[in-house]
């Protein structure tokens, strides 16, 4: 019913993206993602999408895995696409009864969709090529405020514990005949089950805090990771950032 987060299932493969220094990788990709989501032109947006797919292929992460993660974004953007196609004012292309598809609508809808897909695809060569704990440590090295990094780290850790816990509560409910429906009774029961989850998490929070204190927690747990940034990492990062910039230069100048 509830799935584990598994974005890093393919973190143990080997590829240029896997070997990319985590810090440089994150900087370069964040830059690239910002770049692709702001492309104003559909043709250039396609170039961005192809580049994203190229990086994905380079990372050797299987496509089916990526597709399974795209359903939320697809749901959001495609419903936008459909609504925009029919409601965006502009030149009429086709008419179904009283609804008409406009060229501008299709153009804007496609632009949004392509940009959104590029952005989510880029998550995989970035985050999917290292274990999530490495990502967190890299964020720490990138000087993201330490308290946020800690919260991120501990939150991530306990997601697994609570997925198991909630799953067990849910199984116990089902085995006593409960069915998830949209009735008042069912919603209130879910409220109880969630309340129980929060009570347990509150109590666990207390125990975790005690366990941390008994090992001398002072609010600043450093982790000992060595990232080694080499020439090739700089080169790779610079080329990705360069590509990101050129996407905008090109659309500004209007060469394509």
């Amino acid at each position: 019913m509830i799935e584990y987060p598994e974005i890093d299932r393919y973190a143990s493969l080997d590829s240029p993206m896997h070997r990319f220094d985590p810090r440089a990788k994150i900087i370069a990709f964040i830059f690239l993602i910002f770049s692709v989501v702001l492309i104003p032109d559909l043709k250039i947006a396609f170039i961005g999408l192809f580049f994203a797919i190229f990086l994905l292929i380079l990372s050797r992460i299987p496509i089916f895995f990526v597709l399974s993660y795209m359903k939320w974004v697809a749901m959001f953007v495609l419903s936008f696409f459909i609504i925009l196609a029919f409601t965006f004012p502009g030149e009429e292309l086709a008419k179904f009864y009283f609804l008409s598809v406009t060229a501008e609508g299709l153009y804007t809808g496609s632009l949004i969709t392509i940009r959104a897909f590029s952005a989510i695809i880029l998550i995989f060569p970035m985050i999917g090529t290292m274990r999530f704990d490495t990502t967190i440590k890299a964020l720490d090295r990138l000087k993201v405020p330490n308290s946020l990094v800690q919260i991120l780290m501990f939150t991530y850790r306990y997601i697994f514990v609570f997925v198991d816990e909630f799953q067990r509560i849910w199984t116990a409910m089902e085995s006593r005949g409960f069915k998830l429906r949209t009735t008042l009774y069912a919603l209130r029961t879910i409220g109880n089950a969630m309340g129980m989850l929060f009570v347990r998490s509150y109590e666990r929070a207390e125990r975790v805090y005690q366990a941390m204190r008994s090992r001398g927690y002072t609010g600043n747990p450093k982790t000992l990771v060595e990232f080694e940034i080499r020439m090739k990492d700089y080169l790779l990062a610079v080329s990705i950032i360069g590509f990101a910039i050129s996407l905008h230069v090109v659309s500004f100048v209007g060469v394509v």
Partner: protein, 307 residues
């Protein structure tokens, strides 16, 4: 006797690819008490979840009183099979004990009058009548375990499935719970399936034992299972302390075929042996005693040496 549960070639793989069960076949007769033992991660909990159709095997089938647990409507199976989970906190999520006990019957769609009756009866059976309006979260661990069992009993199942009923209990609560479970079987004829690590409780809770380690690796009376040295080593099983001790006595010349598994057994056994052997038992150190003892010790210390 009719079969309460029949499992044929059941295999199960978790969505993440973990093979948890492989070709399990077993049957539990009506009114029987069966224990399932095996190491951590052997698939005991996974198996139990198949018995009321919460999980469906990737292959094979499970039948409860002849009705398939896969195809029929799940509600039918749930009525017959009640599962008590290991951690009572997973099961008690309502603000009061009453609500928790009423949860199952309400889901079965029973009329309010009957729901109340069943709750009362379950409270009585478990000796929890004073607890009706207490909040389960604030009970002691032993009381929570009883409340979790009560919450399943209010559904009046014919088969009771228990996952680690004695874990984490203090000795008093443990003994109480064992008595209650035995009583449900004896007085109400409820079929009992227990998964447990607590080998000392096995003789009390089961007539027959299945050893599970992804597959069923052995089946038989507790006697038979605990006497099978090879099996014990392979599956890293533990043996009841009483049984171990009688093996020690054997090295000292105690003479018997079937070793006792519990204190009660032991008393009976000693009495019988004394009577059979003309009024007394002789223990002594004979030629092989020391060797035998050494062998015996190494047998039970496989844990340590395998490390």
């Amino acid at each position: 006797m009719r079969d309460a549960i029949t499992v044929r070639n059941l295999s199960y793989t978790y969505p993440d690819g973990t093979k948890a069960l492989e070709e399990i076949s077993l049957e539990v007769h009506e009114g029987e008490r069966v224990a399932i033992i095996g190491p951590n991660g052997a698939g005991k909990t996974t198996f139990l979840l198949h018995l009321n159709g919460i999980l469906h095997g990737t292959d094979g089938q499970v039948e409860v009183f002849g009705k398939s647990a896969d195809k029929e409507k799940r509600e039918d199976i749930i009525k017959d099979v009640g599962i008590v989970f290991q951690d009572p906190d997973d099961q008690l999520f309502m603000p009061t004990i009453f609500d928790d006990l009423a949860f199952g019957p309400i889901n079965l769609g029973l009329p309010e009058e009957e729901v109340r009756e069943r709750v009362e009866k379950a409270l009585l059976t478990l000796g929890l009548s004073d607890y009706e309006n207490r909040c389960p979260h604030h009970l002691s661990y032993g009381e929570k375990k009883k409340a979790a069992l009560a919450a399943v009993m209010s559904m009046e199942p014919k088969i009771l499935v228990l996952d680690e009923p004695t874990a984490n209990l203090d000795p008093r609560s443990r003994a109480e719970l064992i008595e209650i479970i035995k009583g449900l079987n004896e007085r109400e004829g409820i079929t009992i399936v227990t998964a447990t690590h607590d080998v000392n409780a096995v003789p009390e809770l089961a007539d027959r034992v299945y050893v599970l380690n992804k597959r069923i690796t052995a089946e038989g009376t507790a006697q038979k299972i605990f006497s099978d040295v090879e099996l014990l080593k392979e599956t890293d099983l533990e043996v009841p302390e009483v049984f171990k001790l009688f093996e020690v006595l054997q090295c000292f010349g105690y003479n018997c075929e079937e070793l006792p598994l519990s204190i009660d057994d032991a008393i009976e056994h000693l009495t019988r042996t004394v009577e059979n052997e003309g009024g007394h038992i002789h223990l002594h150190i004979h030629k092989h005693t020391h060797d035998e003892v050494k062998k015996l010790k190494s047998k039970y210390e496989h844990h340590k040496t395998n490390k």
